[in-house]
Amino acid sequence: MSSPLGPLPLWADVALIPLLNVAAAFVISGLVVLAIGENPIEAVQLLVGGALGDLEGIGFTLYYATSFIFTGLAVALCFHAGLFNIGVEGQAYVAGLGAALVGLYLPLPGYTQVIVAIVAAALFGAAFAAIPGYLQAKRDSHIVITTIMFNYIASALMGYLLVNTLRSPTQMNPETLPFPPGGTLPQFHELLKPFGIIWPITPLNLAFFLALLAAVFVWLLIWRTRLGYEIRAVGVNPTAAVYGGISPARITIISTLLSGALAGGLAVNVILGEEHRLVLEFTAGFGFVGIAVALMGRAHPIGIVLAAILFGVLYQGGAELAFDKPKISRDMIVVIQGLVVLFAGALEHMFRRPVATLLARRITQPPI
């Protein structure tokens, strides 16, 4: 499908249109804040202050951003293959099970335990994504519907396991015992202490670097490898890809597997990096934030890291904001997230025509 008007200049396509889309989401969010009787400018000041005002805020912001980088990459990788993986939430939830099983039942010397736990999280995430992936590839079952269903199946499964089998007998809450020290990822305040740097106690942990590595990995994979080329080819036109000797079914399965493994990063950050035990509903909707992050970052790792940090700011700052202004509850962040998906995703071409018309007029005007 061709775009309605001629191609835009690169800078407009890569920067101007996405910025306009996101700006529209934020302007509407501002109007919502105004409508509930608060000052949007003051709200932004509180939000940014809470998220970036001190090291503690920055630590929390980057901790949230870590989760969002993983889920954003997971969604984006499937986007490139022309697939919509709504199941990142469920895949990350089940990935937590993999991490916890290693943490609880597989004692290994030193930090090998946490490394194995990370691998287990990725494998469990991938395995849970594999079923919808296989069904899409081989049985033509729409991955959107199956992954939605799998989110609920994951929730029921994990709920059952945590309440009935994994829960520690000493605990009332549905959660496991804490993992041994070697089974967790060190946090920044522990890491920086030997160097004499005092970092406030925040949940920011080594998973942050893993997330950045994952971003580099996805970039290399998508744009620098043969497999990445095949993924993009299937995403653009599966019928044509067949003529290039590419099997769309194979690519579909590989993409969903990798996507599920990336979703496991959310469990690594939250379970191995912060909670140090498996808890109920730890994914907290962050899998869905990945959709907004991937759309806002235009499925490019650099864009995803930036969008993830922005959403980290929103989550951390939003918590502070809700504390100071009880009327602007944390639900505001979900509204912003939804508006970003609406304007950067569903209505992404809305500003295209006006911008193209405007640019065309400017270019065709004769110089005076």
């Binding site: 499908m1 919502v32 509930i36 009787g37 919509f84 709504i86 079923i131 069904l135 049985r139 033509d140 079952s141 729409h142 959107v144 519907i145 199956t146 939605i148 269903m149 799998f150 609920y152 199946i153 029921a156 499964l157 709920g159 059952y160 009935n164 869905f288 959709i291 907004a292 759309l295 009880p326 009327k327 602007i328 509850s329 639900d331 505001m332 962040i333 979900v334 509204v335 912003i336 997230q337 939804g338 508006l339 998906v341 609406l342 995703g345 569903a346 209505l347 992404e348 071409h349 809305m350």
Partner: protein, 323 residues
């Protein structure tokens, strides 16, 4: 006899839990039959529930609540329609956006108005839809079996429930026997052919989206001012997605849609009833297994192991008119 009565009671509560599913499922059916995929049912349901409870709180009238609920969901539906039909957007993305915005916005505004964590105050009696007792309940009661069925299953529901049940024959008739319905289904299968015949694809799809808005609005209205007497954040609790599952399970057909929604509602009632129950020989039934059953069944069906669920051919595909 007593076990029969308690079975009828579970069936009755299954019907009550099935009604929001039926209304939302038929909303999705109308939309998807025209080629507009709607995974935003969940969000629209919440929007309708919130608008209905809010209007009913301020006016004290259930009917004004109903109108407000419908108006709100129709507006949201039109946004989805604009994105899907005019902007040729990815309809899954648009539906996801609607789910997120509705989830956040209803809780946010509810909290801003009443400061009760998003919950509305308990609604007074006159602001709710009440069950209607059909005539002759007491007389029929004397008859064994039939009396219990008439009292607990057929009589004693509110007007929205009876409307939900009427939807199956109405939709069946409209989709399969009227000119509008035939065209609407054609537009979901082969829009180019409909366009060639000089009929507006855009017009048909917008009318389907409008009908979807009205019906899913009613499901929200039912949640907040018929089933419950308040709105609370996230109160739709995945019902929109179960309705979507039911739609797939029913292969986008009206009568099976009604039956599937009732089955899923019944499973829900059973899960509540089975909480902590022990079946001799099997042991305690994990409630989560019953809760997950609709989703598992839908996946199995989608996988083509029990029949094949084939969606309308053009669903999710924006129509581009040839120039």
């Amino acid at each position: 006899m007593e076990s029969f009565d308690s079975f009828v009671v579970i069936l009755g509560s299954g019907i009550r839990l099935g009604v929001p599913l039926i209304l939302a499922c038929f909303a999705g059916l109308w939309s998807e039959r025209s080629g507009v995929v709607d995974i935003g049912l969940e969000g629209k349901m919440l929007t309708g529930a919130f608008a209905a409870a809010t209007a009913a709180t301020f006016t004290g009238s259930a009917w004004i609540g109903l109108l407000a609920g419908i108006a709100a969901t129709v507006m949201v539906s039109l946004i989805h329609g604009y994105a899907s039909i005019d902007q040729r957007a990815n309809q899954i993305v648009s539906g996801t956006a609607i789910n997120l915005v509705a989830d956040g916005m209803t809780a946010l505004i509810g909290n801003a108005i009443w400061s009760q964590g998003g919950r509305t105050p308990q609604l007074p009696d006159e602001a709710l839809f009440h069950s209607i007792t059909l005539p002759f309940v007491d007389q029929v009661d004397a008859i064994p079996i039939l009396g219990s069925i008439y009292r607990n299953l057929i009589s004693g529901h509110d007007i929205l429930t009876y409307f939900a049940f009427a939807l199956a024959p109405l939709t069946y008739w409209a989709l399969y026997s009227t000119r509008f319905g035939l065209r609407l289904r054609a537009v979901g299968e082969n829009p180019a052919a409909v366009d060639t015949a000089g009929i507006s694809v855009r017009g048909l799809r917008y009318s389907a989206v409008l009908i979807c808005g009205v019906l899913v609005g009613l499901s929200g209205v039912y949640l907040s001012i018929a089933q419950a007497a308040y709105f609370q954040p996230h109160m739709s609790a995945g019902k929109g997605f179960i309705a979507l599952a039911a739609l797939v399970f029913a292969k986008w057909r009206p009568w099976p849609a009604l039956a599937t929604c009732l089955l899923f509602g019944f499973l829900d009632a059973l899960a509540i009833r089975m909480q902590g129950a022990v079946i001799p020989g099997i042991g305690a039934v994990p409630v989560q297994a019953i809760v997950a059953l609709p989703y598992v069944l839908t996946v199995v069906l989608l996988a083509g192991f029990i029949g094949k669920a084939i969606p309308p051919k053009a669903s999710g595909v924006p129509y581009v008119k040839e120039r």
